[in-house]
Symmetry: C2
Subunit: 586 residues, 2 copies
């Protein structure tokens, strides 16, 4: 059986940065060549970044993607890397680009892969299954490919597939078996969700069995607005054995030798395959010879705790949002509470303490322990710590307007927002906002107050998970002999907005141990009132919580982008009318 | 030929209000019966309102829609209206409801129509063509129907269709010809866009020719978040004659007698029609007899000027947002400039002067004419006028922080935002924000400052159109002998943010006569740099404008919902990555 040395390049492209992404391909192909690779694969939409959303409608952008692909093929050859077949994702159009609102949306543009070899494009493949749920809107943007591309490389027939092709049975993987391939290369832009890695390996195994072939899976890594791509690239043999698996959340070159069946005589070219696909065959002949020396093995990675996985996802999402948007630094308010403490620790992990400004913004209602806990956090993490008392500004508003009750509470939060934004304007920091998913769900925040900010790392983190993350991060630091970043007092004390005397979250909300399971059922699980009550929740509490969630849609619509770690983060993948009279309790 | 008296009920449902919407159907069916109607049609998704977005994923909601339909059929019969066939849109599911993220999104749920008669459901139809562009995401939410429903009513074969079915050739309308129908009823939730009415009549004519049948088109009216449904219901005969046409932007009962061909012998039931549809036949026998007396004619409406049409759309969108969300009143800042003057005039037209609070928020940079123009506007419109000077609060911030330049400009706008939100909290008003589409496009606004607010009536109105609207509204008032609401000075003076001494918009932006055509090409037309230069725009100005637009995505993402009047309003139907390095000028 032929042996092929595969290189899977788990890299971090940037949306729209065609030149930079092409540069990444050239750099990593060089590294793959140095490791003796005989075929190299990069993620879905590598050249353009992913997802590009409405950039698809721009003729200029589609043309630039196609031109960048041709230039990349030539550049790789000029780099002396032309012998190495390189698979890259890009944006193609095989007809006139569509315009939104056309009678035929999606006409022409393709989520595409190209195999580059010897300065040219020897094969292309157009994604067959287009996802159109959750964060995906690909029915808006692409038309489906109807051909399976099989390329003969080093005596092995290799089928090309893209991301969603893997998630549905009966498509290109079934066709790959009919076409008799030895290897399926699948390039991916698969966003992180909690525990998705636990689903991914069994899925790749099922498809390897369906195709009767080894599957090499390469996934993007990095943050793009609300999405985090986690990597987790792997190779699984036809019999389901996991041969090698890359770490999550870091760029990684996975190089591994695989024995593959020699290609046989191809069937007639007009064969009709599964899902009415036809087959298109190509060849990348004259690839680099099998290297001497021991076989390359990529190793495998042990699974990590959920908290570790989420923490890394949040750090990566924040770091890439800040760096890809070229912010020098971030600023956030430090209340002494758990949410801002966790966000500060995430920011310091993402950017280092020199790029994080933490501001204590005490009012007359701020307790002594709040100020101390904020200062303690600053000391533990080494961030740039400031104190800006808000009382003079609050008092001036109160002297000039007749305000009472909640208006006065919100005023304090808004004065804090004005101060943070003024620091942002004056010094260039991105403001981080720190409201957790439970608060967002029930609307327990001040619009234009504590919700002010450009990015929210914990937007998709339920309050009970915020606590778990804090405890995990501290324990992990202690295990490594480092200073735990988060003051124990911030973890242990009862949550309070401190906007009126003696105020506690529990004055307004059920305990988070009661609240979060209801929210998880309602928001993440789409359960209705009856389903929640049937799960054992107190009907009166359910009604109270659902009413709060149903009336907070407008605040959520105004909230900052933030890293997504679940199926149903608030934001683009969860879409509800604001004007909506539907009430679960009738 | 049989004669049928059709009643098209152009009504205004509310999303999620199943009981209220059912009540509307009963009320308007009574009115139609009183007018002698023999068949009645209500808009798409009448029972649930439209669009319901992710409510589709809630099992409880789908079940409630189906239960409401059955109850409505019984209630109509109990009302003594059972003899009258009534077509209503609703949400159905013929399988287990799908959940987002399923491998098969959209499985089970249907954008459906039911013909109610004699207390029961005599026929259902599932929308065949699902739009998935612009504001539409129906591939996420529904599965396509594959059957044409033909109901024999009063000796006439009537085909049922829904909205997008009309916008694509070769589907249900072609099938309707093959099935030999005499009438196609089409129920719609077709959102307003400038000049869409000019497209709609020729489209209905094409489909009438395709079906070889009379087409009766009923459209929803009213505002739903960013969408305005315009009505514009009509009946067109098979030969393309416009028989009757309802007015835009108001509820309307369109009753018209049409002569229709008698139904013949139906073809074999297993006939396969256009687009692989099959036919399902039903009958609503024993309908009310043809009334005595003269034939009913619905009349037709003369087209109005673009400005009149947009004005009515903006008034309706604002009124319904405020009323359907049960806000007692609105508040907005009055700068003396054109944008806030136009929004104030819209608000007074929508809600009456007693429900509109206008606040002058002068600073040390506010000119005397600004204060006078704001007061003049208040006097002309009769709104509740207040003055809240911002300087004391601005001075307190400046005394406590070291701010300069743009930070000080933004501070003033943010103090205004805090004041408006405090009034909202204290008195219950919805805050209106007044930034026009040109400002939003180039980011010429202060985040959490003048962008503060729950709804923006002019979000999708280019600055040059704001001026045209103001002039039209004043001229229209003068024509009717009323006081023109907008001070001439607000229309005539050069635009200024008045955040620093002598500041003018033209210090920062090209003149709006230059800016708007570039923005229209780039935003509405998806033209790239080269396309804009080829259209005759100055390359240096194009580069400057495109750079501004490309870097303002984050501010736009944080902007308030507002009425949509074009294909590409900023908001949900225009989706660009925030993190995005693509630059048209390379």
């Amino acid at each position: 059986m032929p042996n092929l040395r595969l290189a899977l390049c788990q890299v971090n492209p940037t949306v729209g940065d065609l030149a930079g992404n092409s540069g990444l391909v050239r750099d990593w192909t060089r590294r793959a060549a140095d490791a003796g690779a005989q075929i190299v694969a990069f993620p879905e939409m590598m050249l353009t970044g992913y997802p590009v959303e409405d950039l698809v409608f721009r003729r200029s952008f589609v043309a630039a993607s196609k031109a960048a692909l041709r230039r990349l093929a030539a550049d790789l050859d000029a780099d002396g890397l032309g012998a190495l077949p390189v698979l890259v994702g890009y944006l193609d159009a095989d007809g006139p680009p569509q315009f939104s609102g056309d009678a035929e949306p999606g006409r022409g543009t393709r989520n595409a892969a190209a195999l580059l070899h010897r300065g040219g494009i020897v094969a292309t493949y157009f994604k067959h299954h287009l996802p159109n749920y959750g964060v995906f809107d690909e029915d808006r943007y692409f038309v489906s490919g109807d051909a399976l591309t099989v390329v003969r490389v080093g005596g092995v027939d290799v089928a090309l597939t893209i991301c969603e092709d893997l998630w549905q049975a009966g498509g290109p993987f079934a066709a790959a078996r009919q076409a008799g391939v030895g290897l399926v290369l699948t390039i991916n832009g698969s966003p992180y969700e909690l525990n998705k890695d636990d689903v991914r390996l069994p899925l790749v195994r099922r498809r390897a069995a369906e195709a009767g072939a080894t599957v090499a899976y390469v996934n993007m890594v990095g943050g793009q607005d609300e999405l985090v791509f986690e990597g987790d690239s792997m190779i699984v043999s036809a019999d389901g054995a996991l041969l090698t698996r890359a770490p999550q959340f870091v760029e990684h070159l996975l190089v591994h030798d695989v024995e593959l069946p020699a290609a046989g005589e191809p069937a007639a070219p007009d064969q009709v395959l599964a899902d009415e696909m036809r087959v298109v065959r190509a060849e990348a002949g004259d690839i680099p010879p099998a290297p001497d020396g021991p076989a390359a093995t990529g190793g495998t990675i042990a699974p990590v705790a959920d908290e570790a996985e989420v923490w890394q996802a949040l750090v990566l999402g924040l770091r890439d949002y800040v760096n890809k948007n070229r912010f020098p630094s971030v600023v956030l308010g430090l209340s002494g509470g758990i949410d801002s403490a966790v966000v500060a620790a995430l920011a310091v992990d993402a950017l280092g303490p020199d790029r994080v400004v933490g501001v204590s913004l005490p009012s007359q209602h701020s307790s002594e322990h709040s100020r101390e806990d904020a200062a303690d956090l600053a000391k533990r993490t080494g961030l740039d710590y400031r104190v800006e008392p808000i009382q003079p500004m609050v008092d001036t508003f109160l002297a000039n307007m007749s305000l009472s009750g909640v208006s006065v509470e919100n005023l304090q939060a808004r004065v804090r927002g004005v101060i943070l934004m003024a620091l942002s304007n004056q010094e260039g920091h991105l403001v981080l906002t720190t409201g957790n998913k439970s608060e967002l769900a029930v609307g327990y925040s001040t619009l234009y107050g504590d919700s002010v900010g450009g990015f929210n790392p914990v937007k998709d983190v339920w309050k009970t998970l915020v606590w778990r993350l804090a405890k995990w991060r501290n324990a992990d630091a202690a295990r490594r002999g480092d200073t735990p970043p988060i003051p124990e007092n911030s973890i242990g004390k009862p949550p309070s907005a401190e906007l009126s005397p003696g105020q506690l979250d529990s004055d307004t909300l059920p305990d988070y141990d009661v609240l979060d399971p209801i929210l998880i059922g309602y928001v993440d699980g789409d359960l209705g009132r009856d389903g929640l009550v049937a799960s054992g929740h107190d009907p009166a509490v359910v009604d109270r919580v659902l009413r709060m969630v149903d009336t907070a849609e407008y605040k959520r619509r105004q909230s900052a982008p933030g890293t997504k770690i679940s199926m149903k983060a608030f934001g683009r993948d969860r879409r509800l009318p604001i004007t909506n009279r539907w009430r679960e309790d009738g």
